[in-house]
């Protein structure tokens, strides 16, 4: 005699073709923990009606090809800033050729400051008087023309946003940039980024900065800060771009 199966609602299950809507998920027991690689899902292989199990690790690989060696961004470090004079992120290495650097909504403690970027190696952050060169192109929302260009070939920092960054309620500074050729022997480390900020009078200003550490170093860290005073708030994050 064959068996007859019923679900928790008393519906008969057809062993030849049990419809997915016969499963009562809502009344099941929660897993009670984060999903891990070994957890199993049901999957219809190729949508051909043949159901198989698949490990959660396969879903992770499918959704993020970098996890199996493809191209992807890998978080190196991130921090919420709170009354700190600077943020240094270490851990840059030959693993990646480029690093995405995001500074989001940084508010200065002092009004009317500019922004500083520096690089360093295992001995610390470099701030020698001839360590950096930079070029900045500035625009603002009150003039159709290009506002100005700032540049310096031999200075102790990469300056971004040389005009006064405001610290009012809706003011602050953001930058999305890349550090590239970080540790390629014979080449100096470079960075470039697009920045936007609110000037001390609330004017919207923006620009692009190109910076260079003037000598080749084994770059393993980067620093950002305001020209004077603390970073009152905001977030700084760095990702490595994996090889394809």
């Amino acid at each position: 005699m064959g068996w007859t199966f019923y679900d928790s609602s008393g519906r008969k299950l057809n062993t030849a073709s049990t419809l997915i809507d016969n499963l009562d998920i809502a009344n099941a027991t929660d897993i009670g923990a984060d999903i891990v690689d070994a957890d199993l899902f049901i999957i219809d292989d190729g949508a051909g009606g043949t159901n198989r199990k698949t490990a959660a690790s396969r879903i992770k690989t499918y959704a993020n090809p970098g996890a199996s060696g493809g191209s992807s961004l890998v978080l190196i470090g991130t921090t919420d800033c709170s009354s700190t004079s600077s943020v240094t992120i270490t851990g840059l290495s030959t693993t990646y050729d480029a690093y995405l650097w995001v500074m989001s909504g940084l508010v200065p403690a002092d009004d009317g400051v500019d922004f500083t970027i520096r690089m360093g190696d295992s001995s610390g952050i470099d701030s020698g008087s001839t360590d950096y060169s930079y070029i900045i192109s500035n625009f603002n929302d009150s003039t159709a023309s290009h506002e100005n260009t700032s540049y310096n070939s031999s200075v102790n920092r990469i300056a971004a946003a040389t005009a006064g960054i405001g610290n009012g309620a809706v003011e602050g500074f953001s930058l999305v940039g890349w550090v590239h050729v970080p540790v390629d022997s014979g080449h100096p480390p470079y960075m470039f980024g697009n920045f936007q900020f609110e000037y001390t009078n609330g004017q919207h200003r923006a620009g692009t900065v190109f910076g260079r550490r003037n000598h080749s170093i084994t770059l393993d860290r980067v620093l950002c800060s305001f020209g004077t005073g603390n970073i009152a708030s905001g977030r700084v994050s760095l990702w490595g771009l994996a090889h394809g």
Binding site: G77, T78, T84, T228
Partner: protein
């Protein structure tokens, strides 16, 4: 009161807030003093240009004077 700096260890992802060392504090003070001088010069230059622009607007100065000031301020004259 000593200032803090934030260091994120990329190997672990751990962020630490630590006080500046005495040497770092001194270096930061020196840098901030230099920056304050730059900011003051910038603000003074901006105020002078704004004053000239106001004079041009009310007819008490000419555009040529503003251009000449600009040449001085960028070291071209």
């Amino acid at each position: 009161m000593a200032r803090n700096q934030t260091i994120v260890d990329g190997a672990t992802g751990q962020a630490s807030v630590v006080e500046l060392t005495s040497d770092e504090e001194t270096a930061r003070d020196t840098e901030e003093a230099a920056m304050a001088t730059l900011y003051a010069a910038r603000d003074e230059r901006n105020a002078e240009v704004d004053a000239l622009k106001a004079k041009i607007a009310d007819g008490s100065a000419t555009y040529a004077e503003l251009l000449e000031y600009t040449q001085y301020s960028i070291g071209a004259k």
